[in-house]
């Protein structure tokens, strides 16, 4: 059971989460839900990177004087890379919400069908 999880199971569940986020972006016609689903996809990607840094028998990456071997600590490199990615995701969410407000101001709705109808009426 544990061996199956370590070799395939966790990767498969992460991939499933990514797939659910992608399906949400395709299926939902509301732009705000698309933004939320984009954040879900991003969590899946961050989790995948953190998976690669896990170590059996390692502690959190804060150095103590009694332990000096590299095998005692979890790999800190993916943590550092993903921490900045999470913070930058706040900036991208802000830009997305600003564009959302702009679309609402221009078309009066954030449903995809309404916007396509308005565009057809103009032509």
């Amino acid at each position: 059971m544990e061996l199956f999880l370590a070799e395939k199971g966790i990767y498969f569940l992460t991939l499933l989460l990514l797939g659910v986020g992608l399906a949400g972006i395709i299926v939902c016609s509301n732009y705000m839900k698309k933004l939320i689903c984009m954040n879900i996809m991003q969590v899946a990607v961050i989790f995948f990177f953190l998976c690669l840094g896990q170590k059996a028998g390692g502690t959190i990456p804060v150095a103590m004087d009694s332990m000096i071997n590299a095998a005692d600590y979890i790999n800190p490199l993916p943590h550092g890379l993903m921490l900045t990615a999470i913070v930058v995701s706040l900036g991208t969410t802000g830009v997305g919400l600003a564009l959302l407000y702009r679309i609402k101001d221009r078309y009066g709705s954030i449903e995809e069908k309404d916007i396509i109808e308005r565009e057809r009426e103009k032509k």
């Binding site: 966790i10 949400g24 939902c28 705000m32 689903c37 979890i74 919400l97 709705s109 954030i110």
Partner: protein, 80 residues
């Protein structure tokens, strides 16, 4: 290695919450459920041994939920 079983349980609950976000009608419900999503994500990061990332996710999850709710005051809550 019981950690992997715990991770699998948390991941399955994340997938269920993501399905709820996709199929719910009310946008306010979707945003609040997204807050729960980021909360469980924080637990997942703690279990994996990344407390720095979990700390950041806890603060940023709250902030992005507040941004969503701010915009929600000026658009319709119901989806088609």
């Amino acid at each position: 290695m019981q950690i992997l079983s715990l991770e699998a349980i948390l991941l399955i609950s994340l997938i269920v919450i993501a399905l709820v976000i996709i199929f719910v009608d009310d946008l306010m419900t979707a945003v609040v459920v997204y807050c729960a999503f980021s909360f469980i994500t924080m637990f997942l990061y703690i279990v994996m041994g990344a407390p720095d990332v979990a700390f950041t996710e806890a603060v940023i999850g709250v902030l992005s939920t507040i941004f969503f709710i701010m915009i929600l005051r000026s658009i319709k809550r119901k989806t088609k």
